[in-house]
Amino acid sequence: MALITADHLKLGYDSQIVASDLSFTVEEGDYLCIIGENGSGKTTLMKALLGLHKPLEGSLEFAEDMDQNEIGYLPQQTVIQSDFPASVREIVLSGCQGHWRNRFFYSAEDRATAKRYIEQVGITDLADKYYSDLSGGQKQRVLLARALCAAVKVLLLDEPIAGLDPSASENMYRVIKELNGAGMTIIMISHDLTSALKDANKVLHIGETNYFGTVSEYLKVRTEDLGGAK
């Protein structure tokens, strides 16, 4: 069964509809890329997936063995104040709080989890550094490790390479691809079509007409469209 099933979702605020008629499924192990213009409703869809926004119509269902809170989430970096006093370890550990039930302090298991993901995203040498001292790419990896601590099966990435230089972007894509290879389901919002679609297996295009399908089909449709336009 699919992990996430969206059926004719309509998203918006009050009377303003930002996206409608969105249908898609996410299977275990998928690498779904969500693309669309600014203001097409990508961010609202992301909020709906995280349970922060209630769809106006349609249904959004999750597999029985999966909790909505178990989606690891990598926000756009601009959301966080860069001068916040916090160590890398503190930030990554805070992702573990998603699994807490009436608990207030980190367990040895939480610390082991954090350590494992710090290693996995390749920032072991930064573990004792401070967030404000890091470069954009390093910060993004710290937040990725935090998202992994919260994620059980699904990782939701909101423009993971926004503001990164080319080599940092490439690194980021590599890490995400490795995670996907290890069995993590990836949902990524992106502007950067060409490199984002290189690793993805499914596409959701939000716009005047929505498209959902495999990457190869999407590319075919798109080239045909472009050909027609010429």
Binding site: L50, G51, L52, D67, Q68, N69, I71, G72, Y73, P75, V79, I80, Q81, F84, P85, A86, S87, E90, I91, L93, S94, G95, Q97, G98, F104, F105, Y106, Y130, Y131, S132, D133, R146, A147, A150
Partner: protein
């Protein structure tokens, strides 16, 4: 000088003042980081004026312990302000400004019209600047302050990790299932309680300084949340101790001496940062 101090410490009220003062300074400094970074400092400022108004009402109605009246009023205002901020059509700043100046105006008017003592301006001055109130606390107030301060400390330690998560990135906290609204409410209530407590120490006009200075000083020296919090607590306690002792020896007002000490420490921390000490 030592002899003078020893002489003063033979009075139980001086000892109480020192203990309560240190406890209040400690817990008022802890939420400073959250307040500064969550842009809640303006709520703190507004609430301190509300507390002044409530204090005036309590004094006019001749309650034995003013804290009993001021505390619930301030907590309720904190909850209202936060609720307002969440679904604000009108900007929250204006609401807070209106609330706080009205509270000041009505408070001062009440104190004048129904004055309980012959020295109105003295009463107003000590409520605003806490000139001597820490030494004139009733025994009920001393116990209430001490108990509340300890409860605040315990609560802060218990919720430390949650407070970090909610302050650092509220959206992420919500996404992983932390009830961020509930913790925001708890933080607002804690701020209200701390303001009422701190009012006894430094008076309502100087409270923000007591809450924010230690956190800002600590942020010059350290860059992890835990270290900043611990350092801010230590700085605040040292400043309160120094302020109280200096005020006893030099006869200066307690509240403003403590805040002056906080300001000096902040400047020292800025200089230390500039010359590269404490960058770890």
């Amino acid at each position: 000088m030592i002899q003078k101090l020893i002489m003063y410490f033979q009075f139980p009220f001086v000892r109480y003042a020192l203990i309560v003062g240190v406890l209040i300074a400690l817990c008022s400094s802890l939420l400073g980081v959250t307040l500064v970074l969550k842009r809640y400092s303006f709520i703190g400022d507004g609430l301190s004026h509300v507390a002044f108004g409530a204090m005036a009402v309590a004094a006019v109605m001749r309650f034995a312990s003013t804290t009993v009246v001021v505390l619930p009023v301030t907590v309720i205002c904190a909850i209202l302000l936060l609720r307002r901020g969440q679904n604000a059509k009108i900007h929250g700043d204006a609401a807070i400004a209106m609330l706080s100046v009205s509270a000041l105006a009505f408070g001062y008017m009440l104190m004048n019209v129904f004055s309980a003592s012959s020295n109105v301006s003295g009463d107003v001055c000590s409520t605003l600047f806490g000139s001597t109130s820490i030494l004139t606390l009733s025994k009920t107030d001393v116990w209430l302050c001490a108990v509340l301060a300890v409860v605040m400390l315990a609560l802060f330690v218990l919720l430390f990790n949650r407070i970090f998560a909610v302050t650092f990135d509220e959206t992420f906290a919500k996404a992983i299932g932390i009830n961020a609204d509930r913790y925001n409410l708890i933080i607002a209530i804690m701020i209200a309680v701390i303001i009422v407590l701190a009012m006894n120490l430094v008076g309502s006009l100087l409270i923000s300084a007591l809450v924010i200075f230690p956190a800002l000083s600590a942020m010059r020296l350290y860059r992890s949340f835990l270290k900043v919090t611990v350092c801010s607590g230590i700085l605040s306690v040292l400043c309160a101790l120094a302020g109280i002792l200096i005020s006893i020896l030099a006869g200066t007002p307690v509240g403003s001496t403590i805040v002056a000490a906080d300001a000096v420490v902040f400047l020292i921390c800025c200089v230390l940062k500039r010359i590269g000490v404490g960058t770890e």
